[in-house]
Amino acid sequence: MVIILREYLLGNVAIARGILEAGAGVISGYPGTPSSEIVEHLAPLAKEHGIHVEWSVNEKVAMEVAIGASWTGARAAVTMKHVGLNVAADPFMTLPYLGVGGGMVVISADDPYCHSSQNEQDSRRYAAFARVPCLDPADPQEARDMTLRAFSLSEEFGLPVMLRPTTRVSHARATVDVGTPRERKASPGFEKNPPRRVALPAHARPLHAELLEKQAGIEAALAKEDWNWSQMRGEVGVVGSGIGGLYAEEAIAQMEADVSLLRIGTYPIPRTTVGDFLEKVDRILVVEEMDPVLEEFVEMVAKERNPGVEILGKRSGHLPKVGELDPLTVRNAVSRMIGLPERTAPRMSREVLSILPPRPPALCPGCSHRAAYYAMRKAFGKDAIFPNDIGCYTMGVGMGTVDTCLCMGASITVGAGIRFGGEERGICAVLGDSTFLHSGLTGLLNAAYNGARMTVAILDNSITAMTGHQPHPGSGTTAAGEESPTISLPEICRSLGAGLVETADPYDLASMIETFERAKDHPGLSVVVAKRSCVISDIRAGIRRPRLVVDEEKCGGCKLCVSFGCPAIEFDGKVARINALCSGCGVCAEICPQQAMEVAR
């Protein structure tokens, strides 16, 4: 029997609980904000529940592991952030042809406003592209409920089902009613069936037809779900999806306005439900995060069912096309639609706010990336080109050693292209250990194979730091905490064809600089592994280094240490000072020309 409990849960944890309640046997993923906490919550429970939970090396790998598991009949889930779905797009696009075995849920978390991302990409477009159902939760309760339903939907139609939370759903906390975990669903094992599992052209053509034939049934089934509902209160209305629908619902309640509401939570969008609503209104506002997916659909249906209806939304300029929605923006859009005055927030004037110093995210005090960048710049000079990648180290953008950032693994490949494009200056591509293992390997292999003259710096802190310290094949442990072989980055790089491979410790600045110089002078492809554990990992492991202090007699006030940019170093107008944030890395002592920094006693 399932017992329902009420708990205060993070949206991503509510999703994880839904996965457990569904009796899933395999959960894979690659960390990425705002999706990471799903696997993080499940990994420590793997043993207890007899399930396999893994951090895969990238999203394509994660997706394929989940597919294989599903083909044994087990229920499987795979998690990633929206841009991770680009990496996994290859299996994702053909899987719907072949279909699933056990229910399979693809969780792709979108990040409107790019809180921690490089673009604002709408995963609902991908679901439509692949012709699979997609559920768009508005809050943690819906996230849990939809996850559970996604597994059975997947089995009903033999297709993967996408769950698409957005940042404010994944990172919301709420009182959520959850059931007890279900025992792992038994899987009969892999059943040989080449016409179903081998995507040869002869098999793919009929499977494509089959996929298209499923669509009407999916739409009809989804139309019955409780997440699509309406409330009629007059001829003016709102159609809202996901959290946008919830903002609209609250705005209508606050204003006590006679505004009808249609909430949509499933894709493909139920055409009849939308058409029936449109027939009863003459003016509507469409509210949704990111792309106007629902809005375009409403426009299409309106042509058949009510061509005279006025449709407001992103395409009409009533709601912003970029960034994320918020309750006030939605409330004001509803106000404008019904001719009520807008509510203005008590804005602080720009003049008042101008006294505030900016507080951008920064590399931690004692972060070895800062030292590696310093050494890199010394060796290569400021005119060299520094193609960069996705990770904590992108925050070094102010140090002059971050020239490009495109997507995971693109530092090496873009760097090679810059060389082949005719750039003669030095090139030093930079990426982290997790990113290198995610998608830098193929780029390095390609650079070696095609003869790119450049240096690749792998900033190796032995962890996926940016997303919250998830382990990877270079860490020595798995997600579930099992020991695993620690991969050697230098050996991989040599095997892939790099001519010169050296490792140095960024905390030993002189040796780091010399290493970069040798790499720069190498006539072919060189790799420098800047190896030093993440300063946060050290703190968590109880490693304490004595802080440094400035000998004020010796300090000449040259500010070299200050320009290094460590948050632990301040300048009081005359001399440098080291504050309580100091982690004792000692790099500033190596930079100081007066030897004014010393270890505190």
Partner: protein, 195 residues
């Protein structure tokens, strides 16, 4: 119509324990049988950047609070109080830790940090209920400056539609046992500070 009993915005700097405040309030609200919503800053901004959490007690809608809608603004850091002051409702209460945490832009000399008075003056124009306090100092008095977040929670308690008992119970469930005594003291000092 009001759609939430109490809307609280908690701001500060990544690493100051802003999330702990929401966790405790959330648990305590649940213990009191109230529906609660919250939203947190995770990811990139946590690395020493400015962070904002929303908590809505007695609310069944989204976790997001509108600018101009917060009944209470809890600021773990003075500059952050002003940065997010637009969230404060006209009758709202601002609880402000007066201990500055200098951002890198200041330590590297690219920007300057204003005086506490320069920060509090516009805040006081926005609200007549601004309560500055040295939460970090009070936390040190309790036994650890890290407990400044719980000092702020103690100061916030009287403004929440939650009794002290569930707050204390949630605190004891969330804080590790060996730090509980310090945190209990921190809560008490925060509470007394605004009495």
């Amino acid at each position: 119509m009001r759609t939430s009993d109490c809307d609280v915005v908690v701001v500060g700097v990544g690493g100051q324990g802003v999330i702990l405040i929401s966790e405790i309030i959330g648990r305590a609200a649940m213990l009191s049988g109230l529906s609660v919503r919250g939203v947190e800053t995770h990811g990139m901004a946590q690395r020493g950047g400015s962070v904002i959490n929303h908590i809505r007690v007695g609310c069944r809608y989204s976790a997001m609070i509108s600018p101009g809608g917060a009944d209470v603004l809890v600021a773990m850091e003075p500059a952050e109080a002003l940065r997010y002051a637009s969230y404060l409702a006209p009758e709202g209460v601002a609880l402000v830790n007066t201990r500055p945490l200098l951002p890198v832009t200041v330590t590297t000399g690219q920007a300057t940090y204003p005086s506490i008075e320069e920060i509090l003056a516009p805040l006081r124009e926005a609200s007549s209920r601004v309560y500055p306090m040295d939460a970090t100092g009070l936390a040190a008095e309790a036994g650890s400056p890290q407990a400044a977040n719980v000092v702020m929670l103690g100061a916030l308690a009287r403004h929440l539609p939650i009794g002290e008992e569930p707050l204390q119970e949630a605190l004891s469930k969330i804080v590790p046992a060996k730090f509980l005594e310090v945190n209990r003291k921190a809560f008490e000092l925060g509470k007394i500070e605004v009495e």
